[in-house]
């Protein structure tokens, strides 16, 4: 009996540790979204059709989990992707992806300056999508207007930035993405 009580305590302690380590850092103006940061906090958030969607590190058995993924190809392209979930509607999530092509050395320099470099979706070398998942598969909706600002922080080995855009799905449904922000560690291969 004593042993099983001990095991139960250990199980409770582990469950507490695992459940208590989520690290969502709220924004001081809109606490539904994560704070805008430039230090590799591995978090993102946006208002999508006026509802808050977020991604932030959650503890799992194999460490902290987050959805953000950033990769570059020959320093001429940059791809940023993450999943945003509505905490009040657990089944509602979107995948946000940005793909920047034909980047020049000047672009990279500007990404390190001030608040970063702004890329507009009207530019054919800049793509942004918001992807919805359903039983019928994934639907990728392209951003038709708006922008993404990317800041590269070499000291923190992180990419941070803001975004806002409008996209339409094939049925004509509109997705308005406001107050977007992200801050992910970049782990080059």
């Amino acid at each position: 009996m004593k042993k099983s009580g001990f095991n139960l305590s250990v199980a409770f302690a582990l469950a507490f540790l695992i459940s208590s380590c989520d690290s969502f850092i709220p924004d001081p103006i809109d606490p539904r979204l994560p704070v805008y940061s430039e230090s590799g906090k591995n978090q993102a958030g946006a208002m999508i059709n006026n509802e808050p969607f977020t991604d932030f590190p959650k503890s799992g058995l194999f460490g902290k989990l987050y959805s953000g993924y950033i990769w570059t190809l020959a320093d001429t392209s940059l791809n940023i992707s993450f999943n945003l979930v509505n905490q009040n509607k657990a089944n509602t999530s979107f995948t946000i992806t940005f793909f920047l092509e034909k980047l020049t050395p000047e672009d990279w320099k500007e990404m390190e300056k001030d608040f970063g470099k702004k890329f507009r979706f009207e530019n054919p070398n800049v793509k942004g999508t918001i992807t919805t998942s359903s039983n019928n598969g994934n639907i990728e909706n392209k951003a038709t207007s708006g922008q993404i600002t990317v800041k590269y922080i070499p000291g923190a080995k992180a990419f941070a930035g803001t975004f806002g855009f409008t996209a339409h799905d094939p049925s004509g449904k509109k997705y308005v993405v406001h107050f977007g922000r992200f801050d992910y560690i970049f782990e080059p291969n």
């Binding site: 850092i25 709220p26 924004d27 001081p28 103006i29 809109d30 606490p31 539904r32 704070v35 805008y36 940061s37 230090s39 906090k41 208002m47 608040f115 970063g116 702004k118 708006g146 922008q147 993404i148 600002t149 930035g161 803001t162 975004f163 806002g164 855009f165 406001h178 107050f179 977007g180 922000r181």
Partner: protein
């Protein structure tokens, strides 16, 4: 630098006073706080929290026994509560406060006081390390009741003189437009003071 100079000056001033010449008190109470702003936040509500601290009080001029100098060291939680989509989100700002003041006893059981708070941010439940300013200054006015008794009561209204928020001005679509400094605290405190030295002692 100026902040440190003021703090050090007051500490040196009070250290110079022999121990028996000061009236010492412990204080605890509740406070209501909110922020004033330029429309940066939508609807905000105030919030109730607690404070506790200690103080030292001296009468510097023998000929004016009703006039005293007092300094409070307080741990106080300020903050605000934005209301978004019908939900409330509590934003806490925990400060260590150094508050020198002038106090004047109008009667035996009634006195008024006024001074400046130098607040140092110790913790917050929102924001990054650089989201809120580390230092805040505020001016305050208050009254004390039954100050000559072992237990006395006080109330105080404090108004922030410097903004507490240093953050990014984020446009919904266009992203960061620059930086903003805003949010000025307003705090009303109500509490009980235990006077450890009951008598007001002069130099």
């Amino acid at each position: 630098m100026r902040y440190k100079f003021i703090v050090v000056t007051f500490f040196v001033f009070f250290i110079q006073i022999p121990e028996g010449f000061a009236q010492v008190g412990m204080m605890v109470g509740t406070n209501y706080s909110n922020v004033r702003h330029d429309g940066l936040l939508g609807k905000t509500q105030g919030q109730m929290s607690l404070h506790l601290g200690a103080n030292i009080e001296v009468v510097p001029i023998r000929g004016i026994p009703n006039l005293s100098l007092r300094t409070d060291l307080i741990l106080v939680q300020k903050g605000y509560t934005p209301r978004l989509d019908g939900s409330r989100y509590r934003v806490n700002l925990d400060y260590g406060s150094f508050a020198p003041m002038v106090k004047y006893a109008i009667g035996e059981d009634f006195s008024i006081h006024s001074g400046v708070e130098f607040n140092r941010l110790m913790d917050s439940n929102v924001g990054d390390e650089i989201t809120f300013r580390k230092n805040e200054k505020a001016v305050f006015f208050g009254v004390d009741l039954f100050n000559s008794k072992r237990l006395s009561f006080y109330t105080r209204a404090s108004f922030g003189l410097t903004p507490v928020l240093d953050y990014y001005d984020i446009d919904p679509i266009e992203g960061i437009q620059g930086r903003i400094s805003d949010l000025y605290t307003t705090t009303i405190m109500l509490g009980i003071q235990l006077n450890i030295h009951h008598e007001k002692i002069r130099f």
